[in-house]
Amino acid sequence: METAPKPGKDVPPKKDKLQTKRKKPRRYWEEETVPTTAGASPGPPRNKKNRELRPQRPKNAHILKKSRISKKPQVPKKPREWKNPESQSGLSGVSVGPDGCSPVTPLILWFFSKTRSRLEVAEAEEEETSIKAARSELLLAEEPGFLEGEDGEDTAKICQADIVEAVDIASAAKHFDLNLRQFGPYRLNYSRTGRHLAFGGRRGHVAALDWVTKKLMCEINVMEAVRDIRFLHSEALLAVAQNRWLHIYDNQGIELHCIRRCDRVTRLEFLPFHFLLATASETGFLTYLDVSVGKIVAALNARAGRLDVMSQNPYNAVIHLGHSNGTVSLWSPAMKEPLAKILCHRGGVRAVAVDSTGTYMATSGLDHQLKIFDLRGTYQPLSTRTLPHGAGHLAFSQRGLLVAGMGDVVNIWAGQGKASPPSLEQPYLTHRLSGPVHGLQFCPFEDVLGVGHTGGITSMLVPGASEPNFDGLESNPYRSRKQRQEWEVKALLEKVPAELICLDPRALAEVDVISLEQGKKEQIERLGYDPQAKAPFQPKPKQKGRSSTASLVKRKRKVMDEEHRDKVRQSLQQQHHKEAKAKPTGARPSALDRFVR
């Protein structure tokens, strides 16, 4: 449909992802008949931060069909069902509207009328665009994978071996273990496209590889303790938090930079739309480094001691820091103080994670509790669960699955739907590893969870973890070098200034009322009068005899009274409204209440 390259054709055709067992596994030649590209696709959850005004709105881009974990026809002993609980499209490919029941009827949104005001125009535009967006959802060809126990069977009992056995070879190859016992517990990071994996061992082992093809890009030993590792905007650059300073390597393992202003860094976060690398240090500083220009944008003192718990909110690019006094503080480079502080645990906070829509935050503390907070203004815990050992590491997947690493066990919880918080009642999957967990991350666009532990790296299969459809122009796992370069230029052009990071990105689209009023006041001062003020009523001179002073005064009085009455009427109405709102809906007070003393 569009002119951009379609890498889907270069990609070896693969089978479909996890589906119901009854479905025949699709063959590659069959897949070719399916329209591979669609003009508009809502890509993956878009985690542009400040600009993300409508997280649910799909974007027009290329969709590539992507192979997902697909299941083998039958597991003989225990027939289980992998089912998609929220399949949105009908069988025959009939489009299903946003309401889920009927296709969007073509509405005549654009009608012409003389009195159409700008507001109406804006409304019509909005409606039209939203309808178009909803319609383009039809083009999301892929459905997420799922795992469902049969007859109430607990999915948590399904072990990785079962899943691997059930899925196709390509998907099974995505489950692997790297036994790297020598260089201690590993931190790991997937690139934004989900294609590349970088990991760093405590004892200096740093490696980056294309984990799908298992092609090693580089492997070095930095001869220093590695505390954290993170890809920058692309897989070509790698930030490693070493014992003393922050180092930047390229994908050949060549050290490009050593940033001495960021010392003793414990955790790294990269904000892809702002090109900011946020570092939390032992010294208690949160430092923002603009990697596009190599400048430190802000160095904020958290005044809460050693910082070793950090995560980012993908929705608004706010950094969440966990502190030893049980609070989580929210930071933006524009403010010296935290945007908000939330008391989450009675003990110190051990791990923080924010889901991709920026709605939920999961925290775990020294009090062995795992809590999920609502970030939409209330900051109240939605659900709490005490875990035996407490979770040391937390991570959200793209579709809202929550993983917690507790010792050498990994627990995964799933929510009911995509927008719902994970229910902590019962884990979706569990897995035991060969060593205590040290790093966790879900791979974007693949149903894979990467776990770094003392014994190396484990790549687990978690059906339904990530977005099945990706935005080919935004983060394309199959992109070539040229495409990556193109994307890089575009991304740099679209870089969001660091100071725009705030709690509610929508606030940027509002008028700055304070300065507006200030300006008005200044104008009045300058001019000596209010140009917008309504001129006082001046009675017109009437014919002879009628414009006596008394009648003039009378007329003035009349107008004034009228205005006054209007005002009173308005205020009364407002009061009524308020009362109507404030009235408790409960039982009406009885007549006898008046005697209560």
Partner: protein, 771 residues
Amino acid sequence: MTANRLAESLLALSQQEELADLPKDYLLSESEDEGDNDGERKHQKLLEAISSLDGKNRRKLAERSEASLKVSEFNVSSEGSGEKLVLADLLEPVKTSSSLATVKKQLSRVKSKKTVELPLNKEEIERIHREVAFNKTAQVLSKWDPVVLKNRQAEQLVFPLEKEEPAIAPIEHVLSGWKARTPLEQEIFNLLHKNKQPVTDPLLTPVEKASLRAMSLEEAKMRRAELQRARALQSYYEAKARREKKIKSKKYHKVVKKGKAKKALKEFEQLRKVNPAAALEELEKIEKARMMERMSLKHQNSGKWAKSKAIMAKYDLEARQAMQEQLSKNKELTQKLQVASESEEEEGGTEDVEELLVPDVVNEVQMNADGPNPWMLRSCTSDTKEAATQEDPEQLPELEAHGVSESEGEERPMAEEEILLREFEERRSLRKRSELSQDAEPAGSQETIDSGSQEVLSELRVLSQKLKENHQSRKQKASSEGTIPQVQREEPAPEEEEPLLLQRPERVQTLEELEELGKEECFQNKELPRPVLEEQQSERTPNNRPDAPKEKKKKEQMIDLQNLLTTQSPSVKSLAVPTIEELEDEEERNHRQMIKEAFAGDDVIRDFLKEKREAVEASKPKDVDLTLPGWGEWGGVGLKPSAKKRRRFLIKAPEGPPRKDKNLPNVIINEKRNIHAAAHQVQVLPYPFTHHWQFERTIQTPIGSTWNTQRAFQKLTTPKVVTKPGHIINPIKAEDVGYRSSSRSDLSVIQRNPKRITTRHKKQLKKCSVD
């Protein structure tokens, strides 16, 4: 007497004029004239004396008794008369004409009127001028209001305004590449072939195509113009004919008739020599005329003329002869002709017999249908149907030509019109041939033909009911009448008609079938997914429901299995708010106790609350205390200003808006403004908006391609004005928006040079003001 005198004076005047004309001559022959004059004067005096005897209008005449200085050369003396002679009196005609009287009257009327008012002063005139000019200009300009409004409200304006009409590719061209491949398609196409449905150019039968083509504007216009012209000519022709018919002169008619007959005979002779077949036709026509004659009983004794002759016959030989002549002619005409050599002739004969058998009325109608006089036909059919009166322009000239050739004489003078009509006919046929294939005639003309033929058919239906029979009878009749060209023309029409008639129901059937097919398919499509979906749902729901109760058991098992999540894991109870202290459960309390003990050093909650209190305090606007200690009272160490004074000089800060975290005990939200972000916000309200929320509402929708589909993005970012590069953008003209050009010229003049318009308008104004 007076008359005499007048005559005299006239004479004198004429003489004077002569003299005036020839002053030189006069000088030469002075003496002669004097003598003459003398005599004349005496004569005049005498006459006057005689006239004065009358007494009534005695006039005191000048008498010249002695020599005087004032001697007129022309013997005109005003002396003694008491009144002066004015030149005007001389020039005046003797009689006052009536026309002058009216003028005089007018003059007197004007004179009787009062004096004209003084002109207004300059300013007032100018003011009036301005007013009128303004009104006029406003009126001229007001017609642009809707255009301006429309352009203001338009989403997009495209310049230059003239647009080329996009050529719409017909659908058959688009679909021409398509072919039936699958067996189902082939089957369908077989069916279509059977039913003569269009296949390669789908969707359009030839008739439809023709109708589509007929739709084209130019075609329609041309056709309409042609029709109009033909109708006009026809009406002229009719009028002329009527006029000629009204001529009462018998002689004229006789001459005309004779001339016609002669001409016809001559032509017939010629034709026999040149083209025997045509001559035969002609003969047939003559025969037909005879038949007419026979049927109409024209030469019986029943006519007006004949009756009069019959009365006169007794006495007048000539009349008797004339009557006899008529009778003989009648006999001659009513005699049965026995040519009957060819089969055609025979058929004609049988036809004749038939016609004799049928009642007269029917025969008449038939005659009229193809008869020699088209106007007769018209008048006859007009009462039955109007469509026929409007007359297929094809048939009409045809018939006319036919009529001309047959019944000569009359038509000769009409040659011009005929030629014109024939030209029309030829042109049309040419165009048809060039444009259309044999059957694709313009639908309109076809229809008219159809209607015409239908008419005839309906008339013939009296004779025969069935369509085919009808057709045959038509043929028969046509042949009998011998209008071969007409038959040739008309034959295709019914033939076309027939397939059409036959086709229609078939086509409709097939269409309906198709629709039904489509419906069935739809139903199938719809029916398919439903049960499956239902199945899915039904599967899902039972799965979900039984799950719920079992879950806990399983979980326990799993935990045992895992040996990790110990059974003593506490029930899922939320802390809710950290300030809550009381907990009922002993277990819970124990747990809390344990944790408290573990973190005895740091009372997290208290610290947090303290921090929050501080933050709230810090964010509160501070009061301003303006009290000056010691001012107006005693001051010094240990002395405080009185409470009253403090209260008086304390400026209380206005209470700010409530904190966002007022009801959230576990949260501290920073209330400080992010000035860096605020720098990027809009700080001035754009013009048409009065409230910031209105403006916010309009910029709420993101327009970037990141958040929108491609289409929506393009639509949201369409430029307000689009110009074509390299094209001149002319100012809007009245024609562009559908106004007539005359008014536009007004406006354009106004726009171009306002000065000139003012002068022009002034002129108009003057007119107005005078009125």
